[in-house]
């Protein structure tokens, strides 16, 4: 069925370009899109942009050339992925952004605001420390949209707590091993001064937890990260990770495909579907674990 030509087949064809199929959260969104598309009898062409905005634009160009009926894009970058939106719109093909935004407004947006996730995480840290203490931040890959927005959110909150000091920050490149090494080195230089760690994603949060556990310091340091991947949820349940921020992959995936179908069927649809983040701590973790 992969070879059915979009022009002649009566099934609608939707092109999907995802930020990175090496990221668990994105894979979950993509799986949900697949599942919902199958139920609705829609043909999907799913491609992986491998975190490159350029590649993403090229993929959208290719979708346009193939004459797909709609495009779902999980943008790599706010600005750099924008030309893809513009191109789709110029070609008269509806384009739905899922998970994150682009500067150029798409036909519809389904997702959450990354800045918000960091705000939630940092507020939790501030509360746990009573608004006073030393915080360390582990960044995602520098210059990427998610890193920039999560940093922005964290700094907004820090401004409200003058006694909460950011003593060090460094990139862990979204990677557990890198974050772990980074944390090990920080433990050497700051030792007991560290009160909390905010990591831009769970992978890095888990790396920090590993390093702190090995140094026997986990009890004294609060670690919070974003995404709520299964590993992180398990850690929250065990109490090693203090909190994570849940982003609803299922909702994002299913809403994206539903919005696309509504547009194709000329039904009314919401231009902005916001799916809220949720803080996951030991208290409420049970409802997220499957």
């Amino acid at each position: 069925n992969q070879n059915t030509d979009s022009a002649e087949g009566d099934k609608p064809v939707i092109g999907v370009t995802m930020l990175s199929m090496q990221n668990e959260f994105i894979v979950n969104v993509s799986d949900e899109i697949d599942k919902k598309a199958q139920e609705a009898g829609v043909e999907l062409i799913t491609v992986d942009a491998e975190r490159s905005a350029l590649k993403q634009i090229e993929q959208v160009e290719s979708f346009i050339a193939q004459g797909v009926d709609a495009i779902i894009m999980n943008p790599c970058e706010v600005e750099a992925s924008s030309p893809a939106v513009a191109k789709a719109q110029a070609a008269g093909i509806p384009i739905i952004n899922v998970n994150s935004e682009t500067a150029t407004k798409p036909s519809a947006f389904v997702g959450s605001d990354d800045v918000e996730s960091a705000r939630i995480a940092m507020k939790y840290i501030a509360e746990r420390l009573g608004g006073k203490g030393n915080v360390i931040m582990i960044h995602g890959y520098m210059g990427q949209a998610a890193q920039i927005k999560r940093e922005q959110g964290a700094r907004e909150v820090l401004k409200n707590y003058p006694d909460l000091k950011l003593i060090a920050s460094q990139t862990g490149e979204w990677d557990r091993a890198k974050a772990m090494s980074l944390m090990e080195n920080w433990i050497q230089s700051y030792g007991g001064q560290i009160n909390a760690v905010f990591a831009h994603n769970d992978e890095m949060g888990m790396g920090a937890v590993n390093a702190l556990t090995a140094a026997g310091m986990k009890d004294k340091v609060v670690v919070v990260s974003v995404d709520a991947i299964p590993d992180a949820l398990q850690a929250v349940q065990k109490g090693t990770l203090d909190a994570t921020v849940y982003q609803n992959a299922q909702q994002q995936g299913s809403q994206a495909i539903e919005t696309a179908l509504k547009i194709l069927n000329k039904q009314p649809y919401e231009v902005q579907v916001l799916i809220p983040f949720q803080l996951v701590t030991k208290k409420n973790v049970a409802q997220f674990v499957k």
Binding site: D5, A53, Q59, S62, E79, S82, M142
Partner: protein, 326 residues
Amino acid sequence: MKQTLTTLYRQTGSSYRKRVQGMGTFGILLAFVVICLALALSTPRFMTVSNLTIIVTQVSINALLAFGVTFVIITGGIDLSLGSMVAVTGVVAALFAHPDTYPLIVPLMMALGAGFLMGGFNGLVITRSKVPPFIVTLGTMTIGRGLALILSKGRPVSNLSDTFNFIGGGQVFGVPFPIIILIVVFVLCSLLLRKTIWGRYMYAVGGNEQAARASGIPIAKIKMLVYILSGLLAALAGIVLTSRITTGQPNAGQGFELDAIAAAIIGGTSTSGGSGTMTGTLIGALLIGVISNGLDLLNVTSYYQQVVMGVIIIGAVVLDGLNRKK
């Protein structure tokens, strides 16, 4: 006795010298054609004007870098800093390309200047010290990435003028502008390599540095030249990329160096230096582009795409090798 020799001796048969020149790119061209045919038969969407145009546009950035690294590899060097140079020059161009600030020439010259400086730095360290090009350009790769982030303060530089964005996104008589840049640069690089003394000297330096030295060829100058060319072409790629994604991305271009080197080697440039052609490199870049496009068109699942991509690239070069042996 000497006399008898001179009169009677004659040069023996010259059977082995049938190949005079220019057979080098034939094998990979064949592999390329085979792959194109296979794709054309598998999906009707492949052999359309619009799709082929898209492929060439997409290939242009990698091809520009591959041309630069072809010069470098011919002299026996390597340039791993290409990707970072793309990022730095792209950010520099973007910083000067906001609407209503400077005329178009300014961001272009600034980006090319940045590429010139980075390439010149590579060349200078390589010619002045005994440090292998691999390490020097690996160092520059890291330095460049840092510079791109410093210059952009870690954020994408957006809001670029329409004239600037035309470079990567515009069309002239229906032909995307990057394709025009690609063709012009290809012709210039080919001519430089094949028709000028500098091109000739590059082959000499990479083919036998001692022989080049004994012939009075300025080895250091030629090496400087190729790294600077590599820097300038990376700057051009950075400009096209930035204009195409309408943003200067400090994290752009990661891994571009490997793709570019792969294109050059697939196209027959030998890593040990002294041989290679721009035509080969262009075919190498097109080959990679066509495979990548074809796999998307055939809707091969992304994980399997990587497997198939790797297998086809190895297969194409094996085919090339078999063909050469005959």
